[in-house]
Subunit: 711 residues, 2 copies
């Protein structure tokens, strides 16, 4: 921390401790002075009304059910896990319902529930099940879940505070919240001081609780770390976990998850120590983080599933509802955030939610401004990053992601220079995400499956080159963390966009340079996706470049003949043990292509290399005794015994089928004659024909001004 920051913080903290006796309730997402306005808004603004009705229904359902605070026993997805989780959600719902209706029964529910917890919490041992490599919680099998529980519960308590008798409050605080804060700061001290999303959740739980029950010393720990020296704590997290553009190094799935405690705690700080100006901290880093998370989604709202990621996850999740509402209401009222809120179809019943719902009702929403952007990685933005190219309207956007970032800690995959490609609302070239059935206890306790390590993290699971059938960095996390991919070039013009990244340490003696392009030729409505992947080595290697696709192959330039009576696994390790080899073709002709039909649209990938290619058609699912894997399909371009080399491909979106009307148009690609002219470390030149017109594409890797020319 810089000296000026230190001073600033110290002053602010003094100011807080001096004024903290004036604590009011509620004073977090919903504040005492604003209740009448939110109440009125619950009638006036449809989105707030709907959101409130859902909360109220949840609260009423909670009141109608038997209260149960079971002794913690089960892992994720099991009864006690879900019950404690549900109790916390009920407490939050009842807090909101109490503030809006004023009916004491909701506050009573919270009081009774928390007294039940308070009567048991101190007696409970650490959770009997323990998630591997995690500190256990007391309520849940990992302390992370306890942190989340507390962040939720304390908000409900804050809302019911004034309706709970002082002696009950004392019981709850002394026998539940203070012990919890102690557990989090002492038993979980390692996590509390960790610069990591688990750390953020931990200190947010402590910090918010400390504001609500007025324990300034814990606020100070939350802000400055348990030694109160600023080496860890919330501000340090803000300094280090996000890149200058707000990218979170673990990747979008975890960025979404991490955002929740950041914004809720920031809001609590803003309410209790407004002079800290937390939303302006580090040049508005929180706003940038929220925007970076949104820019890390495709137009479906789904986060780019790089690193460990559940692919279903999208910006409708509660974390992003909090993020978007606070970004709009507390940071900057940007009209395109309202588009996201509209798609979320939900606001937090709060000051922020009121502002958002009101603005939407007033017709202020604009389509979300998806951008082509490079999100740098690393606290200083010097560790590579995600290159994102987009073309076309949100309704049928083409989107290309090149991952040229750092490892992203333990949830990172060995997938440097991975390419994802989306179009027409669908994944075209996809990533597996993580191998996990989250919260489904019968599937490895809902945790990451063994196949997450043996398949999902391995290089061959991704659309990037695997050398000699081994993974990057031999799948060794420590080695991979020691370096990062780098950005070579990023350029966005009207009809030509390019991102280029380099990775030279993943395989000893092999330099890898990938340049991915969206180019819209005249007379086309959609861009061509052009991909140039160069490998440089003085030794001979086998290079395998998979394109894991969605949909089905409907055409190819070559006759493949898939294995009919027996399928064999491609290899024994490094992920290859999970791949069934359907067919293997030597490509001898020019004009090679594969056409896929995906969600009623055709995609043709034309490909060539600087030496003859093999094309393997493959299906995922070997080496999977418990049938944990999805049967995804891919084609792998392969070059054997080759030193320096390039793979070049052009993917055209064309035509469509209408299964209801039973019509098909444009089933044939209009691109042809893809040929390499030259390829060396300085540049790559190739030619192709599109709708009868010839183009030459020249990449000059050392030029800034003329990195790419297509004529």
């Amino acid at each position: 921390m810089k000296f000026s920051q230190k001073l600033f913080l110290a002053l602010c903290f003094l100011l807080y401790t001096a004024t903290s006796q004036a604590q009011t309730h509620p004073n977090l997402m919903l504040t005492a002075g604003n209740i009448p306005a939110v109440k009125a808004g619950c009638n006036d603004y449809p989105l707030l009304k709907k959101s409130y009705q859902e909360i109220k229904a949840k609260a009423d359902k909670a009141l109608s059910e038997k209260m149960d605070v079971p002794v913690p026993k089960d892992g994720a997805g099991g009864y006690t896990h879900e019950q404690h989780k549900n109790n916390s959600a009920n407490i939050l719902a009842c807090g909101t319902a109490f503030q809006i209706t004023g009916e004491p029964k909701y506050a009573t529910y919270i009081k009774n529930m928390l007294l039940l917890y308070a009567s048991q919490y101190e007696q409970w041992p650490k959770h009997p099940k323990q998630k591997s490599n995690q500190i256990p919680g007391k309520l849940f099998w990992q302390c992370l879940n306890d942190f989340v529980w507390q962040v939720t519960v304390i908000q409900g308590y804050d809302m019911a505070y004034n309706a709970i008798p002082a002696n009950d409050r004392a019981t709850i605080e002394q026998h539940l919240f203070v012990p919890i804060m102690k557990y989090f700061t002492q038993d979980c001290k390692e996590t509390f001081n960790l610069i990591h999303n688990h750390g953020t959740w931990c200190l947010a739980a402590v910090g918010i609780t400390a504001y609500v029950i007025n324990k300034p010393e814990y606020v100070e720990m939350a802000l400055k770390g348990s030694d109160k020296d600023g080496k860890t704590g919330f501000l340090k997290q803000l300094d280090e976990l996000f890149s200058p553009e707000g990218y979170y190094t673990e990747g979008p799935y975890y960025q979404r998850y991490a955002i929740m405690p950041f914004v809720i705690f920031a809001k609590a700080i803003q309410q209790n120590q407004p002079s800290l100006n937390i939303f302006k901290y580090r040049n508005n880093i929180l706003a940038k983080a929220i925007h970076a998370a949104l820019q890390s989604t495709y137009t479906t709202g789904n986060f780019f599933p790089v690193n460990d990621a559940m692919k279903d996850k999208n910006f409708i999740s509660d974390e992003m509802v909090y993020g978007v509402d606070i970004a709009y209401a507390d940071i900057a009222p940007e009209a395109d955030l309202l588009d996201i809120a509209r798609q979320q179809n939900k606001v937090v019943v709060s000051n922020a939610g009121l502002a958002v719902a009101k603005a939407i009702a007033e017709g202020k929403a604009k389509p979300f401004n998806y951008k082509s952007t490079f999100l740098s990685d690393g606290a200083k933005g010097e560790d590579g990053g995600l290159g994102i190219l987009r073309y076309g309207s949100n309704a049928s956007q083409q989107c290309l992601l090149l991952k040229a970032a750092s490892q992203g800690m333990g949830h990172g995959h060995f997938d440097r220079l991975n390419l994802l490609y989306y179009d027409n609302g669908a994944e075209v070239f996809s990533d597996y995400g993580s191998a996990r059935f989250i919260n489904i206890e019968s599937k490895f306790g809902g945790d990451y499956l063994p196949e997450n390590k043996t398949w999902a993290k391995q290089t061959i699971a991704h659309n990037t080159i695997t050398v000699d059938q081994t993974s990057q960095y031999n799948a060794n996390l420590k080695n991979a963390e020691a370096s990062h991919a780098t950005l070579v070039h990023f350029e966005v013009k009207d009809n030509l966009q390019v991102v280029s990244g380099r990775e030279d340490k993943a395989y000893p003696g092999v330099g890898m340079l990938r340049s991915s392009i969206l180019f819209k030729p005249e007379g086309y409505t959609k861009a061509l996706m052009i991909d140039v992947f160069q490998v440089n080595s003085t030794a001979e290697h086998q290079y395998s470049l998979p394109f894991w696709y969605q949909g089905v192959i409907t055409d190819a330039s070559f006759k493949f003949s898939a294995a009919t009576t027996e399928l064999k696994a491609m290899g024994k390790d490094n992920g290859f043990q999970h791949i069934w080899l359907n067919s293997d073709n030597s490509i001898t002709d020019e004009n090679s292509y594969i056409t896929m039909l995906n969600d009623n649209h055709f995609y043709t990938t034309h490909f060539t290399g600087t030496s003859p290619l093999q094309v393997k058609l493959v299906t995922l699912g070997a080496g999977d005794p418990n049938m944990n894997l999805r049967n995804e399909r891919g084609f792998i371009l392969e070059q054997k015994k080759s030193g320096s080399q390039a793979f070049i491909s052009i993917t055209e979106t064309h035509g469509k089928t209408d299964p209801t009307a039973e019509t098909t148009t444009g089933a044939k690609s209009t691109v042809s004659a893809l040929k390499v002219v030259s390829n060396d470390a300085a540049g790559t030149t190739f030619t192709f024909t599109a709708k009868g017109k010839s183009y030459t594409c020249k990449l000059d890797y050392s030029s800034k001004d003329k990195f790419i020319q297509i004529q």
Copy 2:
């Protein structure tokens, strides 16, 4: 034909020929006298307005494009195929646009286009490509497409009629429509007289054209067959193609397709010979056919994909838009049809569409009344049929289909006693449908793939018993057509529904009896799906009962260990050559089950047999060199060397996951202890426990009153 029908028809026909000079235009879906009302409706009623705007946009696009009437050359999906198809749609769109706007340019387009066709049609030979086993058309590779073209075009011509100069009309009629009618009645005579949907399209094309250009002798042929003796023709089709409940023997996919010419021709008859009272013919058979088609859908709108069927097909298709509009406007204004129209989000811009759009605008729509029903098969309703059981609201309906029908002609599958099961808007136990990429030329010309015969039609592709790894009737169509499955029992009460069917000739010496049940125990919100499949034989056989499921297996009572390094095909023929065997388990324990997660809902199937079972987990895709098949998955219950036998299963819907909120509830089934008490030809008795309560289910196959008792 009965004598009274004959007389009736003869009188009506005389009446028509006597009055036919008074022909007005347009006089089909849109009639001259009603134009002002439809015009006004295009402003007043949102659904008609939207539908009209789409037609108008299509017409305007047609006018902006270069007219092209190419010499026919390509098969389905190819350029000339799609161009001629599109020309016909443009003619219809321009006819409508002309009537609503009154702008002559639209009629001029039709005139010019049809003159282009008239200048070439007679010179064109039969289509150079010929679809296998089909009479070729002149425009298309099968005459069926020519019929459809003409049904479309003649409607456009009728609407433009009064704006086309008489000499041009003479040219068009003499050199296009009359030659077409000759081609259809002479070259395609066999099809014209066929009691089959191709025949319906053929005679509808001839009959409607004959009304429009006033050729009574062709009307008579269309109604009574080319010999005008009533042995074939439209009325005979109405007599024979539908069962008394309106079921069409080829199955729902083709029923939808067949409905179009039936309703359009009927509407033409109604306009031109109202005294025929065609909509009342055979006790309102057309209304019944439309309703039967709608009852043959799941709540998603998708038709039950039995026999050859494209699974995407649903009631949004144009044929059903015509059907629903005419059913509501011309037959009986049932408010629940408006729900379908609302989901179709489209009406025909016509008298009927006006009535539907107006009623919807007036708020008259009611949820479609899905029923549990038995749709009998065969002209007399004596050839078995489809048993359909439904439980719950349209939003989360459970639906079970038991197919105990006749073969359904050449598109029929060898799948007697096949079971389909749906819930929560998704397929749970599914049918493959047909193996076909319709209109995708690179995939076998868009026609049925070879795998349609080798896989989709074979018994093992369906959720019914395969005996000794051979298909029913040895997959011989003629033998299969000689008999039909029969209904044993159909009963629907509030919390207990059952359908039972028998098939005794599919395998020599093996009697098969299946009873499928929806039973809602007290304290449940959803019904259990109970299935009892009994086989009786004095000889020993191998019985294989697959459950082809959607989703993924998340749990099982037994530890399966799927093949990891090598997959082998299950067999060499009868469909088994297309199945990869993942695992094979002998089931020794009681309480056997498999749990699947499907669209975030859990389904657990508990199963038992009267002798020990093998369970095979399988994946489709072997024996498929061109990778034409989808990789669907199933589990097969198997009993080897067993004479009489029963398979009993109970499938419970339970719990759900929310991938956005990352919560899971009710992942464990509440059913257990399924045990057979007794099983013989007279009945089957078994017990099970549901939420702790014991039940005994007794099936008495010979009893009408007490066929099933659950206590």
